[in-house]
Amino acid sequence: MNLWLIPTLPLIGAAVNGLFGRRMPRMAINAVAVLSVVASFLLALNVFNNLGDQPIVERYFTWIASGALTIPVEFAVDRLTMVMLLIVTGIGSLIHVYAVGYMAHEGGYYRFFSYLNLFMFFMLVLVLANNYLLLFVGWEGVGLCSYLLIGFYFLENWATSAGNKAFIVNRIGDFGFMLAMLLMFNQFGSLDIPVVLEGAKALPVEHSAGMLTAIGLLLLVGAAGKSAQIPLYVWLPDAMAGPTPVSALIHAATMVTAGVYVVARSSAIFTHAPIAMDTVAIIGLATAVMAALIGVLQNDIKKVFAYSTVSQLGYMFLALGVGAFSAGIYHVMTHAFFKALLFLGAGSVIHALEGEQDIRNMGGLRSKIPITFVTLMAAGLAIAGFPYTSGYFSKDEILLAAHHHSPWMFWVGVFTAGLTAFYVFRCLLLTFFGEYRGHAHHPPHESPPVMWIPLAILAVLSLGGGFIAIPHYLEPVLGHAGQAHDPTLVIIATSAGLIGIAIAAWMYLIAPGVPDAIARTFKGLYNFVYNKFYVDEAYNAAVIQPVIEGSRIFLWRGVDAGLIDGIVNGVGKRSRGLGGILRLAQSGNIRNYAAWVVMGSILVIVFLGFSGGAK
């Protein structure tokens, strides 16, 4: 099947644009960037047509070999990977096309597309990898591209700082991922995904509990980093510093779902580790609620959607944690449709308003940019779970599974669904309805076809994509997950969304004074939420500053320059140049130093003696 071509084509695109892009005409850059991804998509479709019941596995070469450890470069496609492949290459193609229009007036054009293609390469390696270490290559690689693209406007400090934050927070997650892999190899003697999963299933219960729980929780740390879950979600809102197509592709549709993918891929480990599973569910649920609450009060259109992404990812984790793995992947897909659309639509709005991102300076845009308006409303309905839109199906799957697991999770999920509908429509209504409150120099203009055609395609998918029955398709890989269809629960869940929309309409269309009145009444709470619960500030005060200041004052000035060098310089105080050393030797002081060394050695020996040849 030549699976390797699927990631390699974008890699070639990245290399060509990166090395020669500066001297290439725009059309050539576009052609290289877009066609390489579209070709990948077509190859993925071809794989889809040929995929039978057995996974397709291809082995290329040995990457690392040491003793019992062998890590091949090996790709595999089963139905789960297939879904991810199509999402990544499909949405990726649309966003590449869109970006041709969006980035038309930006500097560093070739650089942008080179990074974007490189991202596609790593993301495809991530989903194709047949062993965890190779998956980790993609995992870290997408982190690299995320760093590069968030910091794309590298002249600005806010952009580069956001890039650093994203990479470093993800590194904390990767720490967990790495430790999980080390444990896997210790336990199963291999990092091949099928071997590890088979091993996890075969492990006797008395061993499995502790070991698999540890592996599961460590994987969760990794997933929480990449998929922006509590407590590592803080990088994602800042990541909006990148150009909007990046936010859509990397920070909404694909990369941030990698954590969901990894947990689903490792479902055999999690199903044998109930504690880890419950932790996944609770973290997901908590993230969903918290991010939705913050989203309610954001005024930057991209920030609203960013917190919405965090919240929706929380939903997906909830699905995984309650055992509905295929529902999680289902939501990955529908979310990729409507969230990519929300971001691209937001980009179209920002484009129309010459860079304005604050919804308080928008309003009344529905007649000025009608295509953007219609498509964004479609996305809004989908995320709110309006009946028979894509979000309706996947969200119901998740909520039903949550109810099956423990009813309180269902109710919290329903509440979050209402909040979601509310803040998304608050944002859309403030943008498109009422009077125009901004002060752009030129009248807003609709985006060119190269931008709105992808919007239109995504709108169709957002509305109708739910009919692609992912859970059914994934049954051979992830097992049967469908819960009994309970009409009452579906109605409750759906009405929560509708109520959310209704409240938003009431507060922002019919009675516009209400929001301010509420804000005044609950001033303390309002400020607490408005400032995102002061989480960034708390991290800064509790972790970052102590580490930096401690390193500077205690370790560097104290231990290094003070203590160690104090001793060394004390000994060699009088040595100035080579003559100084000789003088020192003649004065007999070298004995002091030698004595010091011997004493140190004796101390070590005594220490060892006492510890009884410690192992």
């Binding site: 070469f61 040995t62 990457w63 690392i64 070999a65 040491s66 003793g67 019992a68 450890l69 270490l133 980790f136 290559v137 870290e140 690689g141 690299l144 760093y147 910091g151 590298f154 002249l155 400090n157 580069t160 890039g163 650093n164 990479f167 470093i168 590194r171 904390i172 990767d174 720490f175 790495m178 430790l179 080390l182 444990l183 190899f185 210790n186 580490v547 930096i548 390193s551 500077r552 370790l555 560097w556 290094d560 060394v568 060699g572 040595s575 100035r576 140049g577 080579l578 100084g580 050393i581 130093y593 030698a594 060394v597 050695s601 070590v604 020996i605 220490f607 060892l608 410690a614 192992k615």
Partner: protein
């Protein structure tokens, strides 16, 4: 005279010739050194085939009596452990010559002569199979580095050079004492004979003796590595050294220490090595975290890279004393990786220094706009250094961590914290020096890479990718030899400890 003799003595011959070049012709000194070191490099590439065919044995051996009494032999050879270290040395010497082309404009002749002498000493260290010969080369390599720092360094060069010299000398003395003690027991300085004697029981050491001898060697190597808390000579030496000095120091001279640990401490004193492993590993892990934390707050680029070396070399020591195949393989691979990527970092910092004449991070900012290729290469090296997969360091770090995890999982947990911190200090430095808007004065100084600069850095960039993507080109001979060393550390123990203990060790690991 075989090929290895040529690779070893060609630098010495070139050193003598370089001294004969007239002082008023610096161009000739440069050209000669570059040409000679390139020839040596190409010759050393021919060694690869011979060693790879049988990496567990010493190849290209020359062995004859050098001094009758005491019994000192000229005995050299090459195996899977030393092969790449020799190639790394021969590769970096022409690179060091290239990057000094305009940087060094005083006493050019002497500078290049010392560079060749340094190459001679370092190669000698890696190929010696006689303890005394090893010691001679160990000291020979010290002298040119002392002068490189002391003559061509920055303001505090004398302080740094003396500190470097003193530190190393203290370690060397202890090592020499241990060697002489061993000679007293074995009647020979020959590595093979001593190893054989220990294995067969002809040379019997009490456990106290073994521990003391172990510590004698260990101290010398630990200072060279440098292992926390013996590292404080390194930042000073790096900051004060000229670029080529920093590169040779970081890339090859530090490896003399880690190489010594693997070559001498482990096989000669297996019991003491295993006994002291937890203590040494603790120091290594402290070094990993401590080095990274202190690197994080350095305002000076070279100091930052120097402290990052302390952190990276901690990984190497951790791998060595994990006594696992993966740990040892990772450690040796990491020696090479560090040589390539940290060498590249020092070269790039040197390029910046040649433009702006400052090592302070705050003197820069916005270099990316002014010198995009320089910045791109620096970014790639940055990511190599922080262990991004597909680049070289990742392979080594992963193997070390896996080895450590096999020995004791908590070691891996602590060591992995270093991986997080490395991202912090490197990315913060990159942000402050390269991103943002460029100031007026910087724009005046900054220009992109020249062809000569490209020629020096490109091989290293290529290696970062090659070693990261296809480690099979490099790892098999290393792995084969490490398996043997690991075998030796088990084999030599058995006449001193019960079989039960060995089995226990086997089970735990």
């Amino acid at each position: 005279m075989n090929l290895l003799d040529f690779v070893l003595f060609a630098p010495a011959a070139a050193f003598v010739i370089a001294l004969l070049i007239p002082r008023n012709n610096p161009g000739l000194s440069r050209m000669f050194t570059l040409g000679a070191s390139l020839v040596i490099f190409l010759a050393s590439l021919l060694l690869i085939g011979g060693v790879s065919a049988a990496p567990r044995e010493f190849r290209f051996v020359t062995d004859f009596q050098w001094i009758q009494s005491p019994n000192i032999r000229y005995h050299i050879g090459l195996d899977g452990l030393s092969l790449w270290l020799v190639v790394l040395t021969t590769m970096l010497t022409p690179i060091a010559a290239l990057i000094s082309w305009t940087y060094i404009d005083q006493r050019v002749k002497e500078f290049y002569a010392f560079l060749l002498l340094l190459e001679f000493g370092v190669i000698g260290v890696f190929v010696s199979l006689d303890l005394f010969l090893f010691f001679v080369f160990w000291e020979v390599s010290l002298v040119p580095m002392y002068f490189l720092v002391g003559i061509w360094g920055h303001e505090r060069r004398i302080y740094a050079a003396v500190k470097f010299f003193l530190y190393t000398m203290v370690g060397s003395m202890m090592m020499l004492a241990s060697m002489i003690w061993l000679y007293g027991k074995a009647g020979s300085f020959d590595y093979g004979i001593i190893l054989d004697g220990l294995r067969t029981g002809k040379i019997a050491l009490t456990s106290t003796e073994q521990l003391l001898l172990f510590l004698g060697f260990f101290l010398a190597f630990a200072i060279k590595v440098p292992l926390f808390p013996l590292h404080t000579w390194l930042p000073d030496a790096h900051v004060e050294a000229p670029t080529a000095g920093s590169v040779m120091l970081a890339s090859v001279m530090l490896k003399m220490g880690t190489y010594g640990l693997v070559r001498y401490n482990l096989p000669l004193f297996p019991q003491a090595s295993r006994d002291s492993a937890p203590w040494i590993v603790s120091l290594a892990i402290i070094g990993i975290i401590y080095g990274a934390l202190v690197a994080m707050v350095q305002p000076n680029m070279k100091k930052l890279v120097a402290y990052s070396s302390v952190s990276h070399l901690g990984f190497v020591v951790l791998g060595i004393f994990s006594f696992t195949q993966q740990g040892l393989d990772g450690a040796v691979y990491q020696m090479l990786n560090h040589g390539v990527s940290t060498g590249a970092l020092f070269i790039l910092v040197g390029y910046l220094y040649e433009r702006r004449h400052s090592l302070e991070i705050s003197s820069y900012g916005g270099v990316a706009t002014l010198a995009p290729w320089l910045s791109t290469v620096f970014l790639l090296t940055t990511f190599a250094s922080i262990g991004l997969p597909t680049l070289n360091n990742f392979v080594g770090e992963f193997l070390v961590l896996q080895g450590a995890a096999k020995a004791n999982f908590s070691w891996a947990v602590f060591a992995a914290i270093g991986v997080i911190l490395s991202a912090c200090y490197m990315l913060w430095m990159y942000q402050r020096a390269f991103l943002g808007r460029a100031g007026e004065s910087l724009a005046h100084h900054m220009h992109d890479l020249s062809p000569r600069e490209w020629a020096a850095i490109l091989p290293l960039v290529a290696l970062m990718i090659w070693m990261g993507v296809y480690s099979q080109s490099f790892l098999p001979p290393v792995s084969a030899q490490n398996a043997q060393i690991l075998e030796q550390t088990k084999r030599n123990v058995d006449f001193r400890v019960s079989n039960h203990a060995i089995q226990e060790l086997g089970n735990v690991r």
